[in-house]
């Protein structure tokens, strides 16, 4: 493998192309616009790549749905207020079990907020719809994972047919690094919902309440069965740890650096990093915390969106402390100070 000097957004388009995606719909918004521009630039030479800059994120999301119904690997990318508008189509994708792939670059909220970074779109990514949140959400912490999780996302989406989000941020999309990308993953095949010689009528509105409940319960069963196959977690230096940091995305990369320094000072601390925020690695979390862990630090650029997720999945009581900085990045020294104070 050769090393390449790539931006985060170039890693995104590369991963989407390698995954077999050939349609993209999007609307410009910082910090995800570069993905749209880069895809369109690449399409000037690669005629397999189709695109449309739509009138808004609503149209982008529904065009993605239409394209997927017709059997094309299609994706979109958005951020912040655009993620809100995208909920309409994501909800249809959840209802119709469409393999909708969205690369979401979190920015600060509420409202138009700030434009580069936060970890405040966790709730929106998982539970932004009027349903049960049957969505797959990956959270990459570096460019290699950004590539790998996008490849996983397309495969999971098309195999299990749930909307799938790769939840990143503008810091990562703007990061430029020399990296080697392992790209030899097998791609899932696509399938159109319609055949020309076989009539099909697809609903997403129900007259009988019990009928909808049955559908949801079946979808939930499928989701839980899928969870066993696709849940991803990274454990870093947890074998002899007495304390655990829980963090995701970029914050988890910072936490690793802090852990290395803390261990040099003799503090036995490790990291639990959920790579899939949904389905959440519940079994892995509880089996780790049941191994003589005295204290957990939940660290995030939000006022507790990750903490709530962790608490929903905890089976036993544990001593929890938090470092929460909504809409700003977290530095190594801040984590060290938190742990050693």
């Amino acid at each position: 493998m050769k090393k390449e000097f790539l931006n985060g957004y170039e890693v995104v388009t590369r991963a989407c192309i390698d995954a077999g995606a050939n349609f993209m719909y999007g609307y410009p918004i910082t910090p995800s616009s570069e993905v749209l521009s880069d895809w369109i630039n690449k399409s000037q030479k690669n005629k397999n790549l189709n695109y449309l800059q739509t009138e808004d994120e609503i149209a982008a999301g529904f065009a993605v749905c239409g394209s997927i119904v017709a059997g094309k690997k299609t994706f979109t990318t958005t951020s912040g207020p655009g993620t809100i508008l995208m909920q309409d189509s994501l909800s249809m994708a959840e209802g119709m079990r469409l393999p909708f792939v969205a690369i979401i670059a979190q920015r600060g909220g509420p409202s138009s907020g700030t434009v580069i970074y936060s970890q405040q779109e966790v709730n929106l990514a998982i539970h932004g719809g009027n349903g049960e949140g049957l969505r797959i959400v990956y959270s990459p912490s570096n460019l290699k994972e950004l590539y790998r999780f996008i490849r996983y996302a397309f495969n999971a989406a098309w195999k299990y047919r749930f909307p799938t989000i790769v939840l990143t941020d503008g810091y990562l999309l703007k990061t430029k690094q020399n990296i080697e990308l392992f790209s030899k993953y097998k791609n899932e095949k696509t399938k159109s919902l319609f055949l020309e010689n076989k009539q099909k009528n697809i609903r997403n509105i129900y007259t009988i309440e019990e009928e909808l409940m049955e559908k949801i319960l079946k979808d939930k069963k499928d989701f839980d069965e899928m969870a066993r196959e696709i849940t991803e977690v990274e454990l870093y230096k947890t074998d002899d740890a007495k304390q655990i940091i829980i963090a995701h995305g970029l914050v988890s990369a910072v936490a690793k650096e802090a852990i290395d320094i803390l261990r040099n000072k003799g503090i036995k601390i490790g990291l639990f990093k959920p790579s899939t925020l949904s389905p959440f690695p519940k079994k892995e979390l509880n089996s780790l915390l049941n191994k003589n862990i005295k204290k957990v630090f939940i660290i995030e650029s939000s006022l507790g969106q990750l903490k709530n997720l962790v608490k929903q999945n905890l089976e036993n009581k544990i001593n929890i402390d938090v470092l929460q900085k909504p809409a700003v990045g977290i530095e190594v020294q801040e984590i060290i100070n938190k742990i050693t104070k």
Partner: protein, 222 residues
Amino acid sequence: MKIKSSFCPGCGQVMILQSLYKVLQDNKLEDKAVLGLDIGCSLLAWNFLPINTFQTHHGRVVATMVGYKRAKTDSVSIAYTGDGGAYAIGLQSLLWSAKRNEAVIVIVVNNSIYAMTGGQTAPTTMKNQKTATSPQGYNEESFLGPELIKSLNKKAYITRSACNDIKDLKKVFNKAIKNQAKGNFSLIEVLSFCPTNWKTKGKETIDYLENMKKTFPIGEVK
């Protein structure tokens, strides 16, 4: 044709959809056709015709069918919607699809009210018309969708018809299908009966529709 209808008795959509199906059959395009449905009374068309159909969200059928058509260029992609879905909540997508000359056919059923939700004021409500949300009578002018949209696209086929003129419906559907085959956008607004919400019977329903034609001129917008 086996008919399973969940439309109200006297609903104009039955004539519109059957005429559409006849034209698809005449052109041997039933298998190529996909009917995308907006939410509102249009959703009831999901199992009415023996062709591929799917329901979308309110105001979102045009954007969805744009995605479908671009992904399957040899399909006959039809977005079927009411006046509220087309001209209020979904107007942005409709305007931009027309402006970009997307090769989809949009059929807008105009019955002058939001029928599924109980007769509220719609973009096509007529001046002085009483509705559930304009109890004193609507005091604005009606929204003329085809006339507005024509200015955005010279290649578009844009017309208005009525559910009680089957011959004209077949003519306009034929033209729209041919226009889509050439890669162009079409919009067909069809004035349609809603005796349930108009609270009309028999001839009153026909008279109501004929009266609508004074506000909404029938024929191609050029």
